[in-house]
Symmetry: C2
């Protein structure tokens, strides 16, 4: 049976990317590889809005988070972690694994932290060196005001590192124009390739700290990675076929245009939310991210059964809640390679499965709402992917 | 132009593997994925000769080396590193990055360490907790007596961790019957898939140490990885399509049979060496590995030009020397998916390019020698890959 991914990562992979990865393997110390690697790197930097080096690591997003953290810290350091979900928590776990003192700004899952909350933590912990944030919290669907929080930290001389795993390719991060000092993302999300690569980009302020930071690191040594990149290289053998896939993916995104990519995500998120609203279901996140739509499971409906029916009967694989949210929310992913038709497939499967499991709605209500939203949406030039 | 990889990693990838990786992406938290992941894991363990868990990490071989090291060590520890090449050196660099005291048994590149040399280091450094070795040293083509050196270490209560990056899939490691305590390998070598995955397997002795080791680790936490594997899982999002590729590759290796795989590597190495010998060229390694053949560049021949001609005129990509061996050796890879015809292509291109660059030989000498060697070799049942 045909099964289509609508999880907030891994996400659908364009056939152009699958094809680029399926060719006979080439060696990474060749001009043929370097040309594609460097073009991918350049396009990634353009997309991020930076002239700083974008470093490609062969690992998951969590590996890149660890790399982004350990290169800025030394034994005895203190940090502030903003957490309101599984991935915010992860920053704390990483810092604690290295014996760094973590001060948490904890908000209820689904909420986002306010400027006041973060300012108050900065005031309470004047020795904190780095503020770690999640931009789009994949476990709750919430969008944190990363740029505003970074501005507050910057004003106090504190570096800000943001997990943009599900915001890269969705939001215009404008890295060089922002107060962000580090940004991390993975390959299996907005970049539209399979998991196995992750990225780090540092501001010049962060690089100055990285050159003196003292936490131990070998595979995660970003100063070495930056030096290697200057020669079109990586310190260790890269995941070659994924890098070639990233090149194919960035060419697609370049063709669509940055603003086109962001507008498409807005359109898809709007249509999904509109459909959910029409069903009378509340969104879980206080400020919803355009990467995914998290929806509270309605009373009397078995959330796990809906997820299973969507997959097995309607060929649509979404995600449920993780950890404390298990069984309590649905997470509908629309980050990456999704178009109007995909959204209708997603919303249609969701609505049908809900009805199958006793939810009361007139079949077609949600799909119609999504279509109306999509038809009314502005569509920037140039044309869509594909 | 057709270009074929004969580097000692990355190596050729079977079409069955390319196809498995080119299908639309599936999610890693599904039965479909778990079944393939767990079968790959089981076949990898069988191939290694172990009932211990084989842990899949999304990273390069160096990442797995770091993981294998940091989980066994605590601040203040001392270790012994046997080094006679670039990759032996890497064990030392990893340990030093974590502030561990490294005692080196250094042998000239191309040589292998003797039991006496390692015994003497163990005697001189009785506080050393772990012996780090390279089995097949990819930078020199030398095969270290890993099993014998491990026996010596074990007798003194010292753990042995071996880099089997270019020996897994080439030699029968019989892990559970050996005195080895840790083994590490990568995906882009004997396993015949692209780079991006690496593996660690520990003995029960090593696991007992890992549970108490104190070096910081997060992404490399193998105790967590072992716990996740028990549930068919990994602690972090895996490189899904590479894992599916590893499943396809291990099914091919299983069909060929362990002994068949090892015998084929012996046959290919013998034929390559026989051809080289016929040309009157000395092998670089004191004890040559069946993974690759390292050959001294003959006097009066421009080694770099030969490598280039092999690639550009004959479509065969080999490797030259690294670091101190740059321009001094050729490295002909025959680890992984290579058959008789591949060896003739490799040897033919090598011989022709040498002659093109002024080396004196009767064209066909080396190819004929390789063919004779292959024709005379024993071929175990069951039949070959494919």
């Amino acid at each position: 049976m045909k099964r289509v991914l609508f999880t907030p990562g891994p996400t659908q992979v364009p056939s152009e990317v699958l094809e680029a990865m399926a060719r006979p393997l080439i060696h990474h110390r060749t001009d043929e590889y370097r040309q594609q690697f460097l073009e991918a790197t350049r396009l990634l930097a353009e997309h991020l809005g930076t002239k700083q080096p974008v470093l490609t690591l062969s690992c998951s997003g969590s590996g890149a988070m660890e790399a982004a953290a350990v290169n800025l810290l030394s034994p005895g350091d203190e940090v502030i972690v903003v957490e309101g979900g599984k991935f915010g928590n992860r920053w704390g776990s990483i810092a604690e694994a290295y014996g760094v003192t973590v001060h948490k700004v904890s908000v209820a899952w689904g909420r986002v932290a306010t400027i006041e909350e973060v300012e108050s933590a900065l005031t309470a912990h004047p020795k904190a060196r780095v503020l770690f944030l999640t931009h789009s919290e994949t476990s709750t669907g919430a969008l944190f005001p990363a740029h505003e929080l970074a501005r507050v930290a910057r004003a106090r001389g504190v570096l800000t590192v943001v997990d943009a795993v599900t915001s890269f390719g969705v939001y215009d991060l404008r890295f060089d124009d922002s107060d962000l000092d580090g940004v991390v993302w993975g390959s299996q999300k907005g970049l539209m390739i399979p998991p196995g690569l992750a990225y780090v980009c540092y501001s010049p302020r962060a690089w100055a700290v990285a050159e003196k930071a003292k936490l131990p690191r070998f595979y995660w040594n970003l100063v070495k990675a930056r030096g290697a990149l200057e020669k079109g290289d990586t310190p260790f053998t890269p995941a070659i076929n994924l890098v070639l896939g990233s090149h194919a993916a960035m060419k697609l995104m370049d063709k669509e245009g940055r603003l086109g990519v962001f507008a498409r995500h807005q359109r898809n998120a709007d249509a999904t939310r509109h459909a959910v609203h029409t069903l009378g279901l509340p969104l879980f996140a206080e400020v919803p991210s355009n990467a995914l739509t998290a929806i509270e499971v309605p009373a009397g409906v078995d959330g796990g059964a809906v997820v299973k029916t969507m997959e097995q009967r309607y060929g649509v694989k979404i995600a449920g809640g993780q950890d404390q949210l298990k069984g309590k929310i649905f997470r509908l992913g629309h980050i990456g390679y999704y178009d109007d038709g995909d959204i209708l497939r997603l919303v249609g499967a969701f609505e049908s499965a809900l009805i199958d499991h006793g939810f009361s709605a007139e079949p077609g209500t949600a799909v119609r709402a999504a279509q109306q939203s999509l038809r009314g949406a502005k569509r920037p030039e140039p044309a869509r992917v594909g």
